[in-house]
Symmetry: none
Subunit: 195 residues, 2 copies
DNA sequence: CCTTTTTGTTTGATATAGTAAACAATGTTT
DNA sequence: AAACATTGTTTACTATATCAAACAAAAAGG
């Protein structure tokens, strides 16, 4: 087995991705050019895959489009891995001290690494308050159902279904259900790298 | 607030990353050049940040180094993201090649972290297949709604609501909706931490 | 209908990414 | 030591990414 430049690696299809993103945001080439600092001509050629753009150029474009860089390179997803099943009935569920808040711990005992996954269920009017966690701990909150008010430190915002909030939780923070119905939240907690 | 090409986006420091990766694997420039198809001269200039490489070139290099593309772009970055709201309407959604599969990308906007979040929606009978990706990347799949059959390599299992599956990305795999109704899945992807 | 504006594409010129080969260092041999 | 690899850098050249401006094609007025 040689390792000559044998198998042509691959060629990401950035052009279509840029175009899709741009149109999704209803921007013209002019507008994108103005916002990104990349010439309209370049953008046109990139979208029609006539050229092979530079990292710096793509970076500017991604920034102007306010999308993640890799998103422009993908076009397809990648999903797959090992295989460890954790049935709902095997997962620990617990009720918070507060009334009407139900916590479903998704992260299995076996992993307990730097990631924790939860699904929180809030009855109408219920609220969950948390004291600061370890520094540099981040929470990624996704509203699955209902309306939620989140406050962390002096920041406050109201989120509706499918909104995502990323915040550092080394301050006092609370999550409140504003909806007259049950609200549900998916919560990913990422602890700072230890060691 | 203008949106002229005001704030200089940023410039990723790919050079040092390439060099670090290369040295970590104890490769010479010659060897890398041979494996990637990129000239030794280019590699030298890239590592010393004398040039501004092309996406295609970097892609070849990433492939030859067997590392994820974004890994080479990281290192810099906007660490501070205390309170970042991503509204549903601002999030990128994309449909897979397969029929009836809808992907909602929750994580983008600023960052090339090591975490990616998705909500996948499957119409009845729809299926999403993915090809393998880089090792040591883990996925955490939570069934929000419906019934899902996941197969990864020789493993197959059926998941119901609130079940969690963890796997690593090595093999082809697919996610299929078994329910006569729409099924929904929350997906957390964590990329390997380099050391 | 005939202007304007707004869209995306295509020129001509230039800067620079990319290559191959020569170079200058180091290290290995005998 | 001389002779030879092996490293990374720099030259001399070619290919092409990028730009500003001209261009074409609609869309929008008027």
């Amino acid at each position: 087995m040689n390792n000559r430049a044998d198998n042509i690696p691959k060629a990401p299809a950035i052009g279509v991705n840029v175009k899709r993103q741009r149109l999704e945001q209803k921007m013209s080439l002019d507008k994108l050019a103005d916002a990104s600092g990349v010439s309209k001509a370049m953008l046109s050629q990139i979208e029609s895959a006539k050229v092979n753009p530079t990292i710096a150029t793509m970076w500017k474009i991604a920034h102007a489009l306010k999308v993640d860089f890799n998103l422009l390179l993908k076009g397809k997803g990648d999903r797959v891995r090992k295989f460890e099943i954790n049935r709902h009935e095997d997962l620990t569920t617990l009720d918070a001290d507060e009334e009407g808040v139900h916590i479903n711990v998704l992260s299995p005992i076996t992993m307990a690494e730097d990631l924790e996954l939860y699904i929180l269920t809030f009855q109408p009017g219920s609220i969950l308050t948390s004291s600061p966690h370890y520094p540099d701990t981040e929470e990624f909150l996704t509203v699955l159902e209902g309306n939620i008010e989140v406050s962390a430190g002096k920041n406050v915002t109201v989120l509706k279904k499918n909104d995502v909030l990323i915040y550092q939780c080394d301050v006092n923070h609370s999550i409140k259900n504003l909806s007259p119905k049950e609200s549900k939240v998916y919560l990913v907690v990422r602890f700072a790298k230890k060691k």
